[in-house]
């Protein structure tokens, strides 16, 4: 059946079983790459997206549960040419090894920074509690989120809507 989803500001009609987890629709129907399959169990955070601004594990949310809610993926934040602060910060601090977990990390951080632009180190760690990294990039991820926080607090360099 056809399901309507609002993703990155645009409404998409997809022909999929309503029980299909959002992750599969994002990746297969909308050809969005950032949300990743990691466990399918809501344990690793690789599939993290924003739903109405809340960090949400897309691998365990069926599309029928979403209705009119606004879904934002990493692609909706910015581009290589015009990156969002969180993206600029990860590039600046070279905060990736394989990078597979990184989009999920960035979405968890984005959700945090949208409600609290100047989080403490403990608040950042709490926001990442469901995100796993296997390469051991944690120190750089924390540093990049602090850097993004500085950029967003300073209101520069991006003037884009925060997610």
């Amino acid at each position: 059946m056809t399901v309507k989803l609002k993703v990155n500001g645009a409404v998409h009609e997809v022909d999929a079983d309503p029980a299909t987890p959002l992750l599969y629709v994002l990746r297969e129907d909308l050809e969005l790459n950032a949300a990743k399959y990691g466990c399918g169990l809501g344990q690793c955070g690789s599939c993290m997206v924003l739903v109405d601004g809340e960090a949400t594990l897309s691998c365990v949310v069926p599309i029928l549960a979403l209705g009119e809610r606004e879904i934002t993926t990493l692609e909706g934040l910015g581009t290589v040419e015009d990156p969002a602060p969180i993206q600029s910060a990860f590039i600046e601090l070279q905060a990736a090894q394989c990078g597979y977990c990184i989009p999920g990390m960035m979405m968890s951080a984005q959700a945090l920074l949208q409600r609290n632009a100047s989080p403490s180190d403990q608040e950042i760690r709490d926001a990442l509690r469901t995100n796993l990294c296997r390469c051991g990039t944690h120190m750089r991820i924390l540093a990049a989120i602090r850097r993004a926080s500085e950029m967003m607090s300073a209101g520069a360099p991006s003037n884009r809507r925060a997610g």
Binding site: E28, Q43, I91, Q97, C98, G99, Y100, M139
Partner: protein, 741 residues
């Protein structure tokens, strides 16, 4: 996608397999080439010994560099590009780098052992230097000037106000020439790209959602498959009713061949749903009984078949009143890539097969897949596409084999993508082998006089090689069998890697008690035996220092002659503030050192840990490392890899053990196989790089694993006064040790 109305059964190849599926119209046009006798097309073979296999400059001055190594998330793409750019006097952005592909790149074996810079980095640097020399000599001739008078800039060769582009010169030259032996390299003090922090080329795409991984590949007409694996090793498929599965929405067919069972669907989640249903209907025999987990180290010692002497000097007989003896153990541990393995394959209309894989070895994987399918290797092409970080031999080759087997049974032109599920990755990947080690050492007059080190281990490398290394080949009918593992003592080591101390000890004996049988499937995991061996060795060194009433750092320095070893030890100690560091409540400091493989990168690390006496929770608070991996190409890349190695090794050391009952692996998700989480990430991690201009590249990726385990063990000893010898230092274990006192 076009879905056909017909459903028909295929009988292909040796006839053991029946695939039934519905076909797209485009798929029906191609006929499978099995059994034809005409000459069979093959892919082009690449000659490692020719310059143009490594580097090409076209008439438009476009530079393409070829490496047989693969990007595994370690940043090798950027570092190799830097090396080529340096010798060609161009910006790194001017280089197009093609990575591991049996159809295009040299055969550099596996991307493993921290050998990408020593192997490929060195080869590419020499090839680029040869290319520069050829271009400069030809330009000098054309311009009728001495080669030394020419300058290179912006892909142009200049003499005064006259300039020739690289492309112009290259077009007039025959560059299909053998590699030169030893072309002159740029002098260390003239380097401008090597040693500079060039931003990783892949990060901008990866943080904005560009397709970056094999999991992101979408080929026209691509089908999705899922494999149903047996419940445990050796279980055989006794019964399965597939008819109801074939009727599920989107299901294209079920592949059943021997014990290999898979389902193919049009859409990915349809494949997942069908896989679950298929798994529910499959009946398996009991399979091979596994050992009692609690007894695994005794069981493994009982499986010893022969003993190899790794090193022997003097007559080691640790005795006297200052003797330390202990048994150390390491459990099975998993690579646990965050992205489970994925493989894509497509049978071509001419009967050749293309496989996309995040394998560490495209050429060996090609040989294994070809053997599995009874094809000539030249008719299979394996192309590396990056996956999630692998840290060794994980499920990548198996997923590629799954895809290859399924694709070979599909009509040509129909690509199939096999994505492993989390529980499949955790249960079926080859684990880092369990090991146990007995160390005895004696101190005489303040120095280590006698030292024996007995390690029990499987081989740590069961990579392809033969088809028997692939799960699909073992599970299909007419199964392949794994190679028989053999004990082999080599300079770089395997299970015995780093078992031989680099410290000066007059009497020592190092033995590898070889275990050929593998109750659990094992293979290469970052650092191989060096992780457990350095853990045991560095723990023992600290105990011997205590017996000698010496400071652990000073004691190490007193036994180290190699100046580069001493330099990393001194730097790590100094930057940590070893001598002045005070111990807070529940806290301790620890130190460790190793030269990886005893012939590669030098790394020393000092750590501070905190132990909660009430809970046993042990946490790495801070770490300071110093590393010398020879000439540093990308210092920030070295730091990034080493920071990662420190945190990953801390995770192995504090949390990780594969669990199993008598039938199956039970650590199949992230709650049953816990790893480091943000709540426990250290406060600071510092890595200091000692650059050695003009020295060979030594590689970086695995250097931290063993020293970190050793340093954490030593810091726990310092914090609570107890020597922990069994990995991991889980809360339960630490609490039990504290309770026993």
């Amino acid at each position: 996608m076009t879905i056909a109305t017909s459903r028909r059964a295929f009988l292909l190849g040796s006839g053991a397999l029946v695939v039934s599926f519905s076909l797209g119209a485009e798929a029906q046009e191609g006929e499978v080439q099995a059994g034809t006798s005409a000459p069979q097309p093959t892919f082009t073979a690449i000659d490692n010994d020719r310059l143009d296999s490594w580097i090409r400059v076209d008439a438009n001055s476009h530079i393409t560099v070829f490496t047989g190594k693969a990007e595994l998330g370690q940043g090798i793409r950027t570092a190799l590009t830097q090396v080529a750019a340096e010798e060609l006097e161009v910006a790194p952005g001017e280089i197009e780098l093609i990575t591991a592909d049996t159809g295009r790149t040299p055969n550099e074996g596996f991307t493993a052992g921290s050998m990408s810079m020593p192997n490929s980095g060195t080869s590419i640097r020499k090839a680029a230097a040869q290319m520069r020399r050829l271009l400069v000599e030809a330009a000098a001739q054309t311009l009728a000037v001495a080669p030394e008078s020419l300058t290179l800039q912006g892909k142009q060769i200049r003499s005064g106000d006259r300039a020739l582009s690289y492309g112009e010169v290259a077009a007039a030259l025959n560059l299909e020439v053998p590699l030169a032996g030893d072309p002159a390299l740029k002098a260390p003090d003239t380097l401008t790209v090597i040693g500079r922090d060039v931003p990783r080329l892949d990060i901008p795409g990866k943080v904005t959602g560009a397709p970056a991984y094999i999991q992101d590949m979408r080929l026209p007409g691509m089908l999705h498959a899922r494999v149903v694996r047996p419940p445990g090793y050796g279980a055989t498929l006794t019964q399965v009713d597939t008819s109801a599965i074939e009727a599920l929405p989107g299901v294209v067919g079920v592949v059943r061949e021997g014990n290999f069972l898979a389902v193919i669907a049009e859409r990915e989640f349809q494949a997942v749903t069908a896989m679950r249903e298929l798994a529910r209907r499959a009946r398996w025999s009991a399979g091979t009984e596994l050992p009692e987990q609690a007894e695994i180290h005794n069981v493994l010692r009982g499986l010893e078949s022969e003993v190899g002497t790794v090193a022997e000097e003097g007559d080691a007989n640790p005795s006297g009143d200052k003797v330390f003896e202990a048994r150390f153990t390491r459990p099975y541990q998993m690579h646990g890539s965050i992205g489970p393995s994925c493989g894509i394959a497509r049978l071509e209309p001419d009967g050749t097969l293309i496989v996309w894989s995040h394998t560490q070895g495209v050429y060996p994987d090609r040989a294994a897949i070809a053997e599995m399918l009874g094809m000539e290797p030249g008719r299979v092409r394996v192309i590396h596409v990056e996956g999630s970080g692998c840290y060794g031999h994980n499920g990548a080759d198996d997923a590629a084999a799954d895809a290859a087997l399924i694709a070979s049974r599909l009509p040509p032109g129909r690509p199939v993508r096999v994505q492993w599920m989390r529980e499949q990755e955790n249960a079926w990947e080859p684990f880092g082998p369990a090991m146990s080690i007995t160390v005895r050492g004696a101190v005489t007059n303040g120095r280590i006089s006698d030292f024996t080190f007995d390690l029990w281990s499987n081989i740590h490398t069961t990579r392809p090689g033969g088809a028997g290394a692939l799960l699909a080949a073992r599970q299909k009918s007419g199964p392949a069998t794994p190679n028989t593992p053999r004990l082999q003592i080599s300079p770089s080591g395997n299970g015995d890697r780093n078992a031989n101390p680099l410290y000066t000890i007059p009497n020592k004996r190092i033995l590898w008690h070889f275990i050929p049988d593998m109750p659990l499937r094992v293979s290469a995991m970052r650092a191989l035996g060096a992780y457990a061996n350095v853990f045991a060795l560095e723990s023992a060194i600290d105990e011997l220092a205590l017996l000698a009433q010496a400071d652990p750092v000073a004691f190490r320095l007193a036994h180290l002659e190699d100046e580069r070893a001493r330099a990393v030890v001194q730097m790590a100690a100094e930057r940590f503030g070893w001598e002045t560091a005070t111990r807070g409540p529940g806290r301790g400091k620890g130190f460790a050192f190793a030269r990886y493989k005893n012939l590669a990168a030098y790394l020393a690390v000092a750590v501070e840990v905190e132990v909660e006496r009430e809970t046993g929770r042990t946490r790495l608070v801070r770490a300071v490392a110093a590393i010398d991996s020879g000439q540093a190409v990308s210092p920030n890349g070295i730091r990034n890899q080493t920071e990662g190695g420190i945190l990953q090794a801390a995770s192995w050391t504090l949390y990780e053990a594969v669990t199993f009952d008598r039938r199956e692996i039970t650590s199949v998700d992230w709650s049953s196989y816990p790893i480091l989480r943000f709540a426990s990430v250290p406060e600071t991690v510092e890595v200091h790089v000692i650059d050695r201009p003009g020295e060979p590249f030594l590689g970086t990726g695995e250097a931290a694993q063993g020293p970190v385990a050793g340093a954490i063990g030593n810091a726990v000893r310092d914090a609570i006064g107890l020597r922990l010898t069994d990995l991991p230092f889980s809360r339960q274990r630490v609490l039990a040790a504290l309770t026993a006192g």
